[in-house]
Amino acid sequence: METTDIPLHLIVLIPLLGAAVNGLFGRRWSEHLIAGIGCAAAFLPFLLSVEAFMALRETGAEALRQPALFTWFASGSFKVEVGFTVDHLTSVFLLNVTGIGFLIHLYSVVYMQGDAGYFKFFAYLNLFLFSMLMLVMGENLLLMFVGWEGVGLCSYLLIGFWHHDNANADAGKKAFITNRIGDFGFLLGIFFIMYAQSEAGLPISLSFEALAADATRFSGYATVIGLCLFVGAAGKSAQMPLYVWLPDAMAGPTPVSALIHAATMVTAGIYMVARMNFIYVQSPEAMTVVACVGAFTALYAATMGFAQTDIKKVLAYSTVSQLGFMFVGVGVGAFGAGLFHVITHAFFKACLFLGSGSVIYALHHEQDIRRMGGLWKKMPITAWTFLLSTLAIAGFPLMSGFFSKDEIMWKAFATQNLLVPGWVLWLVLVLGAMCTAFYMVRVFCLTFLGTYRGGAGGHHDAHGHDDHGAHGAHGDIHESPALMTLPLIVLAALAVFGGLLGLPHWISHTNLFEHWLEPVFVAAKGLKFLDNTSLELGLMGVSVGLCSLSALLAYAMYNGTLQQTPARLAAQFQPVYTLIYNKYYFDEVLSFLVVRPTKGLARFCYRVVDDGLIDGLLVNGTAAVVNLSGRLTRLVTTGDVQRYATLLFVGLWALVAFWVAG
């Protein structure tokens, strides 16, 4: 494992440079120049990532390492270096982040045209790439934390990008604070790792290499470390109950939703669990929690997709749900399967978001699917790519999502590493997959099929942000420009064929993807799974059948013969519908149980405890006592000698009396 000649640090630093240049000087520059710098700062790291990937493949090395750039800080025996490493796991994320990142930069060139904050947008996107690359390339847990908080910051800035509207600023703030709750867990996890080392009398190190090398020393703390870290993962990757920020995050520009809130940042939690696999495999408790939370979120969020009418919100809940699938994958110990879904999901979900962005762009910021429809003819490329990605996410056989999701579902069934039986997880996931097929077909039908329900003049109250000057008359809906459709085509192709990277064992002898990641998951070798190919194929048949039924039902209900049914069902099951429509009132409950009590407690502390008790009673009270005793003293300090003598006399007798009595 010698050092590499590839300038790994440049992969991280080029986007930072791009962010700094555009952010500081871009205000007066032309959009072309800004876009050029922004895209270059995404493309160069992509080239370097490809180079790093090839180098790993050719040399067969476990990882590419660079000597540390400098010591970040050192105190006592504890030292944190700044250095970057690319191992097999990182290489996968690198290609994903820089590749899809570049495509989305291209897309934004057109999408953000005419926005007053054009330079800022590209600066933030570049800054995001920097943070995300830091997150996956940092050689130790603390550098990962730097990237972790950095992507949170960029998410905050980009969600609240149009911050003159308080709703957007609120959404950004909510994302940041919810993520901070997760980071609190992350930090405690780091502290426990350090504690375990110091208790064993070992030098404290947070470098992944050192941690993985001798992981068994954490056995006594594996559960608590794993759970603490998972709190962080659940925050970043929007799992129950910390998912609440992600749907609101749709307030940001759509390319942001595609890049940050679908393809890259939100998968950081899965990356973290995979990266720390050597801790998790030591604790069935922690693995069970990860898998169960994931499974529950997968189903719970999928049901919320039924009733949403904002195209981006549907996709957001879908993302939450799909992240749940990934957590089941890594939680049951099938790290490769979970990560494979990260990648395929990045393809099809980025494509879906960009597709929705293309629609929103064409319809002048219309996001309500009730006012869409019939766009198939008008926007063929968007419609086709959206359809292919819909099929992929729904798990249509031989599409990428089919392979990755099915692998997770089988591994969930087959796992023997948890405290719960695998078939329970499998059942929940099948239900989740059925819901997914249903709501995705629903969105597709309502958006692209049928007739256009938007009306010519259209509604324009959602305007305001950035009126794309390029558009002419309002009723004139047409396909988006090439810079936007090109990423759609590339991503749709990947969504269709990406599954070839990870063919299951019953098709191909080697699963390229999982084989590539094997060196990272040495610790997971001892995990046990059922091995029964016919059962696997049977279960697959069941899930494919159920999902197909569900998809057909959705088609019938939203574009076929059953079009009256949705309204009737909604009327018949009013309470259930209301519950789902209002997202189980979870935000309201959270606000009632957490946010408002916190603010109430703050006011109580301020008005009652601080002003009343501490300052009023304690401080001013002391002052009052001093004041009073001063006044009392003044009563006797009169300068009257006779009175002094009397007091002296009385005092003397009192003393004598006390002495005698005592």
Binding site: G76, F145, E149, A169, K173, S198, S219, G220, D610
Partner: protein, 537 residues
Amino acid sequence: METATNALPIISLVTFLPLVGGLLLMAIPRENEGLLKGLALAWSLVVFSLSLAIYTGFDPASAGYQFSENRAWVESLGIRYVVGIDGISLFLVLLTTFLTPLILLGSWHAIDKRVKEFLICFLVLETAMLGALVSLDLFLFYVFWELMLIPMYLLIGVWGGANRIAATLKFFLMTAVGSLLMLVALFYLYAARKGEAPSFLLADYLTLELTLKEQVYLFAAFALAFAIKVPMVPFHTWLPRAHTEAPTAGSVVLAGVLLKMGTYGFVRFAMPLFPDAARLAVPYIAALATIGIVYGALLALAQNDVKKLVAYSSVSHLGFVMLGVASLSIAGTEGAMLQMLNHGVSTGALFLLVGCVYERRHTRQMADYGGIAQVMPWFALLFMIVTLSSIGLPGTNGFVGEFLVLAGTFTADGDFDLRWHVAVAATGVVLGAFYMLWMFQRVMFGPLKNPKNKGLKDLDLREWVVLLPLVVLIFVMGIKPQFMLDRMEPSVKNYLEQATASRLPKSDAAGHARLQELELARVARKAHASAKAEVKR
């Protein structure tokens, strides 16, 4: 302890030069405001450059005091003029000399009455602060410590806001009460050195044996004086009032340097002077620090006044410093030292930023703002950076200090298990983001509703010059804090040795028994923990 005897008494030069500058200003007629301001600024810049010589000449490997001077002062009472700088005081001295010119430039227009007196007052304050930081004679320290009070009292009382009198009174009385108790303790100490030549020299008291009972009382007296200054909950109520009424200059110097006198006092005096009592006090300090972190954050959350919010956030941030001090570990203490400097830079910058908009709009109520980012984009950028530094985003200065404090305390191998304290304290990370981002949103984001805000001008050159050095420092200290940690480490180790060594006299049986109890409890706790870990395995 002296390592070098310089030909040039650099410490005295740096310390007293501001005072000399103040005297010089007296000779200039008050009508020449420009000249007065210019001279004061230039003078403080000279002081800063001179203090840089201390930095460059500082030997990072040495644990002891450097550039020491030792002169007789009041021979008969054993009071001497002894000054020196070690890794613990070095950066606080630099912070003081660094902030002073920025503050003077920052209040260029804000102070429009009694300009001459203001400048003199400020320069005297600088001398007092520097003096307190470099004094190695207890009496000398006390003189400077009390001297700080007077100009600060005037700063708030003369140039402050509408309710300044009440605020000044509270500030002065609370601080004075603490100081008086410290003075009594000082005299007790002085008398305790029976049969030896009279001395107030700090070094002489670091070997003095005291019974546990004596130590506890003396520690309490010192600790109270310092705790009020920090301020630790529940002695903090003077701070928000002083901050809101103080002019920007007063707030910056208060947050930037004066509060650190409290935490510095713990490290320099209270802990190493009475190590056995300090050991017993650890859980109380840690508890108050933790309460301060959460409680201060909650109070900040309830504010509608920007300055009050920042003031309460100081209570929270200083809680981190005290938690690190209580950890008695290298990482925790160094984190505390860093956190002192971070707070000085970040909160100083915050008050300066608030001053920028206050000068434009003359209101501190968040409700009067909103949407400011649209009219002052550069201000918004700097404000955002400082806000992030205040909530400890990695890459900014706030993170390293907070992390070292929390990690150092969590892993500390002391008498007490402080892990729960850390877990509670770490919620401050969440609450900090809550109140800071909420404040930021209320001031900077949202629609630009108030017509008075529509024509606001972005930062001018003077404001850039004031703010840019702080913003640069935020990143330098966040990305490469090692140049500071390297210079602190030997002195911190030295301090920890002093603060953890027992100095009970052999005769103090009760004291020894109490410490024995502590030791047994600690051993039992360790055994229990390792047994539990073993079971899990």
